[in-house]
């Protein structure tokens, strides 16, 4: 019981269930398999990307480039499929592309010590710009999407959309890695106290580099889900999605100050944000108000974080002598 109360994700999960129930009472449509399906299907892309972003945020970094990466990857997959290449080949290309973008981020952040916010803002524009150049007005439409992907987008397993299952399985893998592998624990240590991480002999640069690379790879894989989900790919696919991903992570308890949070929590955060979108939509609230509610929730989440992590002032005035 005591351990249960310590789980950081518990309050947010309670909020999610409460909110979903209240919304469902107001709108019976929501509280049905089709309502649940809409929720899981609608949030599947963000649920996949939070696995990437959580790796980065626990290290006290941020990756804003994943929206551009997932968009370009979806186009690469769609284009090659429509040129007659097999799905596996296309998927591999998408992942390799994502790994490459992630490796560039990782190199600049880990070894050149550049701030991740600026680096990934740069690659966000850079990748999107290249994407626009390459794609131009090209539009990959639904009959070009590989059959397996369109099947996954339109079918469920035990009433759960396949796209969400893919995201969830990946989250299980990443979550297990972060919790139970030494190198995964290092990510938390790096975000919690960087100087101490160096003192403890943690290979900070190597871990940072590989985490960014992996995040890019996940975004590359996500390209397949993106094209499946929307049945199309074009120059603004995935535009702006990174901010929704960061918001989901923060709402789900992944501290922007580093060192705390799980992929599982971030998924709950993504579901909560999506529930709000659906509920407000179902209640006939305009899109603009949905933005206001999401924004307020984000600020509430970060304020709670601040309160929880405020450190004692007293220890700061004492200083190691000489």
């Amino acid at each position: 019981m005591r351990n249960l109360l310590r789980i950081r994700e518990l309050p947010i999960a309670v909020v999610l269930v409460a909110f979903f129930s209240i919304a469902a009472l107001g709108n019976h449509q929501l509280f049905s398999f089709s309502g649940l399906h809409d929720l899981l299907f609608g949030s599947s892309i963000i649920c996949l990307l939070v696995s990437a972003e959580t790796l980065i945020i626990v290290m006290k970094h941020i990756d804003l480039s994943i929206g551009s990466t997932i968009g370009f990857a979806s186009y690469i997959i769609g284009k090659n499929a429509s040129n007659g290449h097999g799905l596996l080949y296309c998927l591999l290309l998408g992942i390799i592309f994502g790994l490459a973008v992630g490796a560039v981020n990782g190199l600049l952040v880990a070894y050149f010590k550049l701030p991740s916010l600026v680096v990934t803002l740069g690659t966000l524009y850079l990748v999107r710009g290249l994407f626009n150049q390459v794609a131009g007005g090209d539009f990959i439409n639904s009959d070009k999407v590989p059959h397996v992907l369109s099947f996954m987008a339109s079918h469920t397993f035990a009433k759960i959309p396949y796209l969400f299952i893919v995201a969830f399985v990946l989250a299980l893998i990443v979550g297990f890695y972060m919790r139970n592998f030494r190198s995964g624990r290092d990510l938390y240590a790096i975000g919690s106290n960087l100087p101490a991480a160096y003192l403890a002999g943690i290979k900070v640069e190597k871990r940072t580099f590989w985490a960014f690379t992996a995040a890019g790879g996940i975004a590359g894989l996500g390209g397949a889900l993106l094209i499946a989900r929307f049945g199309q790919a074009q120059a603004n696919s995935g535009l702006g999605i990174e901010l929704g991903v960061v918001a989901a992570c923060v709402v789900g308890g992944v501290a922007i100050a580093g060192g705390i949070g799980t992929v599982f929590g971030a998924i709950i955060g993504a579901l909560l944000l999506q529930t709000i979108v659906l509920a407000l939509g179902a209640l006939g609230v305009s899109q603009f108000w949905q933005g206001v509610v999401n924004g307020a929730l984000l600020i509430a989440a970060i304020s709670l974080d601040k309160v929880l992590s405020s450190r004692s002032q007293r220890t700061q005035i004492m200083r190691v002598s000489e």
């Binding site: 592998f181 938390y188 106290n193 002999g201 004492m318 190691v320 002598s321 000489e322």
Partner: protein, 495 residues
């Protein structure tokens, strides 16, 4: 008896500062060894060498008859030396168990063995007699408990040498007693402990032998039973006040600052003193004795609960640093990189920031006026620079300090409060800063100076106040103050 550790002829130089000249230290099993010395005597450098942070220029370190290789903190730990700092460096978001085993977590195959880690940490905490919960996170843990976690980490690596750098500075009396209990039981188990402290009564109560350092060299090693605090203080000081301190005779004028019975919960209590025009008042004391907190309260950065501060006959409002500046008080903080300067900004901008009003017209800055004032001050202070547009982080520590001084003195204050005026500055620039302060005093500036360097306090001050544990414990005129009585007052040695 077999030696655990032997340091012979250790020497280390940082730029212009010779931190270690000829340091020697020998440790035997089952002993608690005190390492003493004034600030700047080289203790910290020696500890950091053992921690694997610094490599010696000359000299040797042998550990159990084998050469010790400086190779980072991790390397030192693996060779059996654990250094525990006054404020441990834990991971606040990780559990205590994981903090103990960080970087080398126990595993089953590839995955972390949480249960074993928790059990082993719990066993270590129990062995230390402090039953901490291994599954709690380190955030919010008291400093005393954080030290216990560090000691547990040292034990889990079966460290044979455990070095504690002023571990008791931030501890309460009970916590100190508990730490001593732990230290004694580690000694029983055969470890060698090095205990750095400024509190001589603690040293006498706990330690078996003592080594004293001065100016980077070991001056004496003796069993505690054969020495007393008088003898230790003599060894620690044992030097002439050099003529590095060109104190000029100033005419002491009216009282400008009057501090009456101010107190701030948990930081200082019942502090009263005065500063007169043209007078330099030094405040000596150990780090953590509350000196910086007192001046922060006087300047209005922090609140105080009781008492009053009067400046130029006017009672000062609390918490109004802006008002204090306008009234003519300038504060030069201790940490110039963090609090005194805008590091990436030009010398000019840094100097003129305190008088932007004076150099602006219609709300816009006037470059010529900014530059003029800066040029004037940089000449006065013999600042060494390439261009006034260079950012201050390219200057040496001493020259940065001159920029801070210029910045504040250009506001023409009546009282200058300065915290550690020459910390980390080379000897030449030091005496320039001293000459400059002394010169300003002759012009009627009152100076309140905190310094942990005894020669500086004694050489520069007209009066010396000594603080210990948040209280003003002694007050000497320049002719009465000597190293022995100031150190004795600061460290609470019975006289």
């Amino acid at each position: 008896m077999e030696k655990v550790l032997e340091i012979r002829g250790a020497a280390k130089r940082f730029g212009g500062v010779q931190a270690l000249v000829d340091a020697n230290l020998t440790l035997y099993p089952r002993e608690i060894h005190a390492l003493l010395g004034e600030n700047g005597a080289g203790k910290s450098t020696l500890l950091k060498t053992l921690a694997g942070v610094h490599k010696l220029d000359a000299g040797s370190i042998t550990l159990f008859g084998k050469e010790f290789i400086a190779n980072g903190t991790r390397g030192s730990l693996e060779q059996g030396i654990a250094v525990i700092y006054q404020e441990p460096n834990l991971f606040p978001d990780l559990t205590l168990a994981e903090n103990v085993f960080i970087g080398r977590q126990l595993t089953h195959g590839k995955t972390v063995a949480w249960k074993e880690m928790a059990e082993q940490s719990a066993a270590l905490f129990k062995r230390l007699g402090v039953p901490l919960d291994p599954s709690r996170r380190a955030r919010g843990l008291s400093i005393a408990d954080q030290q216990i976690v560090e000691i547990a980490k040292a034990l889990s690596l079966s460290a044979k040498v455990i070095v504690m750098d002023e571990p008791t500075a931030a501890l309460s009396a009970n916590e100190t007693e508990r730490l001593f209990g732990v230290a004694r039981s580690l000694r029983e188990e055969g470890a060698a402990l090095v205990f750095v402290s400024h509190r001589l009564d603690e040293v006498m109560a706990l330690c078996d032998r003592v080594t004293i350092m001065r100016d980077g060299a070991t001056v004496a090693t003796a069993p505690i039973a054969e020495v007393d605090t008088d003898k230790i203080v003599k060894w620690m000081v044992g030097r002439e006040l050099s003529d590095l301190f060109p104190k000029m005779k100033a005419n002491i004028g009216e009282t400008i600052l009057k501090v009456e019975n101010i107190s701030r919960e948990g930081q200082f209590e019942d502090i009263s003193f005065e500063v007169k025009a043209g007078e330099i008042v030094g405040i000596a004391g150990l780090v953590g004795s509350g000196r910086s907190e007192v001046i922060r309260a006087i300047f209005g950065i922090d609140n105080y609960e009781k008492g009053s501060v009067t400046f130029l006959g006017k009672k000062m409002k609390k918490n109004r640093p802006n008002q204090a500046m306008q009234d003519g008080i300038a504060l030069v903080p201790e940490d110039r990189r963090q609090q005194g300067l805008f590091m990436p900004v030009s010398i000019t901008r840094n100097t003129s920031i305190t008088l932007l009003k004076g150099v602006s017209k219609f709300g816009l800055l006037r470059k010529a006026s900014e530059t003029g004032i800066t040029a004037e001050w940089s000449k006065k202070m013999q600042l060494k620079f390439n261009s006034l547009e260079d950012s201050v982080d390219r200057l040496s520590g001493g020259n940065q300090q001159k920029v801070v001084l210029a910045k504040w003195l250009s506001t023409k204050p009546k009282l200058l409060i300065i915290d550690e005026p020459t910390r980390g500055i080379d000897v030449g620039t030091k005496s320039e800063v001293h000459r400059f302060l002394s010169q300003e005093a002759t012009k009627g500036l009152g100076i309140l100076m905190i310094s942990s360097e005894l020669p500086e306090v004694l050489g520069m001050s007209d009066r010396v106040l000594v603080m210990r544990e948040g209280r003003l414990v002694a007050h000497f005129n320049a002719d009465q103050a000597n190293p022995e009585n100031v150190i004795a007052a600061a460290s609470g040695a019975s006289k």
